[in-house]
Subunit: 194 residues, 4 copies
């Protein structure tokens, strides 16, 4: 099975997810700027999710780049990842409409966590299909981002019970960790470890 | 006519179908976890349909892989399949919102049945365009899954009148039959037949 | 400018149009089969539009196959065609929800007419960019379908004022004219003309 | 990283944006032509946005044509552009439903301005990744359209406070400036400058 169609299908699904999220920002009935006020938290949750989906698309692209053939497990691990990503519009809308309340913030983190686990499973499926000489295994390396993120998501889910704002701060920090180019941070970390 | 654009168009339609199904899970107005309770059956019907659409995408890909040229009948048989798949979001939403009641469960099975028939028609269109040396005919073989599934769908549609849960169990079983890799099951069956 | 991206973009837009039309079939609140009754006309209008969009996608593909380079006028004529096609979900939904009443049936025909004109303009843009040796000009030939369709649409629009059912019969007939493979009909017509 | 998948993803997102805008034109409940009247301004705002998205898709295509490799900054500048384009359905719907009132007209202009800035940032990211011999830098030249448009958007945003119709006239004019083929206007301008 060719890699091209898997990429094209994933691109299609991710493009639709990133675009229909905006439909949760319902057009207000009033014509004054005030009528936009209730949408401000929805807008911020949209920005956060847009960045997350963008990061996933970016990393997904790089990961598949190293993959040479698509096996059954890779295909289903990929659909499993797309499943959790497809829930982003729902959790984004619920969190935004309820002004970052406790339960919606926790659910948002849970779906982030599941997507992170699904991404890790896809990574393992590709590595195990490629054997010991896997390019991806070398590229992933110690994968401190991939290991740190789920821990932070769990902290955020627990914290959202008392303070949803701590959860938001953590979600934003994780997004920034992935956004900032790798080498510099890895350099810093190597320095700390030494 | 090239195969590439048929694949790209089908991928696009299937990617949209699998993604807009999630729009049937309307964001609840409350902010408590309780407000998610009515959505639980919608969520389970979404998972079921996500798996079905994933199976169709996967099989569609393999089937077209063996097809060397696209004729008029293949093109229209493909659109006919996409038509029935496009009704999945509707039947999924209706079944989920009504907590797997009788009529929605039966309609869900009817659309599964029609999609199964449409898939079989597309398979026949490709085989007949390729003549006696058709790769697909050999690959399909005895096609016990393709023959068993419609029978099970009909049983489920009839059963949903008395017990929708039997219908759900059948829909889930058919999905699992397709999910589990072929060779082992075929081996088992060959053993039973011997 | 390459042809590939124009095809990919058109495929994407057409795939979305054909799929979001189904969103006009709102999931009913009741769980009985009776609650589906009001949706029957919406379902039939959906089938009609699905077939029309399928025909456009099919013909669009064949037309671009003959096109060797994409000029500015071709690009904008293509976007103009996509604009009118993008109105199909709206006119389909309005016609279906109002049980094929006069005004919605007339508007449905008007958008079909505009899409037909837009298709013809795109055809002319490709022919004029290719000069006298245009492959498309030869392929189009006398183009009796392309000339007959707008006349029939106008008849249907006028007729829908008195009898929307005549309009529906005409819309269905035009779809069938395009569905039936060309050669046989052309053969019949050539016989009549001789 | 290959350019193909960036183009395919952008095409997908832009195709979805241009198509879901039409969903803001809600199907009216009445069956008379009069029931369409409230939709007339929504229709006109849809046409305007359709043309803008078409221009962006067209220019985006030409710009990426000159780009040989995709770097991190290019990828994120591209996602940043898609973010602002994804807000078009929202601002288009709000402006249309409120019959081109002051605040919605200003917000429409603000999103146009941000998209224009995002486009310029993407252009700079490509030029700086290509170095001094950049093909794009030569192609862009003095870029009078790219410099004039933001100024006109700001004028329109300010003017919309007193007369939203002046804002609409400016938005339409900017679209026309981009629609009309370059060479003739540039020739005229060169004449004026001389």
């Amino acid at each position: 099975m060719g890699k091209g169609r898997l990429e094209a299908f994933s691109d299609g699904v991710i493009a639709i997810i990133i675009t229909i999220m905006v439909l949760e920002m319902k057009v207000p009935h009033g014509e004054s700027l005030d009528s936009l006020l209730p949408l401000v938290p929805v807008f911020f949750s949209y920005i956060l999710s847009f960045v997350y989906v963008g990061i996933y698309w970016n990393n997904h692209h790089h990961m598949l780049h190293t993959c040479r053939r698509v096996t059954g497990p890779i295909l289903w691990a990929n659909l499993h990842l797309l499943f959790w990503l497809s829930l982003f519009p729902f959790t984004t809308g619920w969190m935004g409409e309820n002004h970052f309340a406790s339960a919606p913030s926790a659910l948002y983190g849970l779906v982030l966590l599941m997507a992170g686990i699904a991404y890790w499973l896809l990574q393992q499926a590709i590595i195990s299909s490629e054997g010991s000489a896997s390019l991806l295994r070398k590229a992933v390396g110690r994968d401190w981002k991939g290991k740190l993120s789920p821990v932070l998501y769990i902290v955020a889910i627990v914290a959202s019970r008392w303070s949803p704002w701590i959860a938001q701060a953590i979600y934003t920090s994780v997004a920034l960790i992935w956004l900032v180019p790798d080498r510099r941070i890895e350099h810093v970390l190597r320095g700390t470890e030494a």
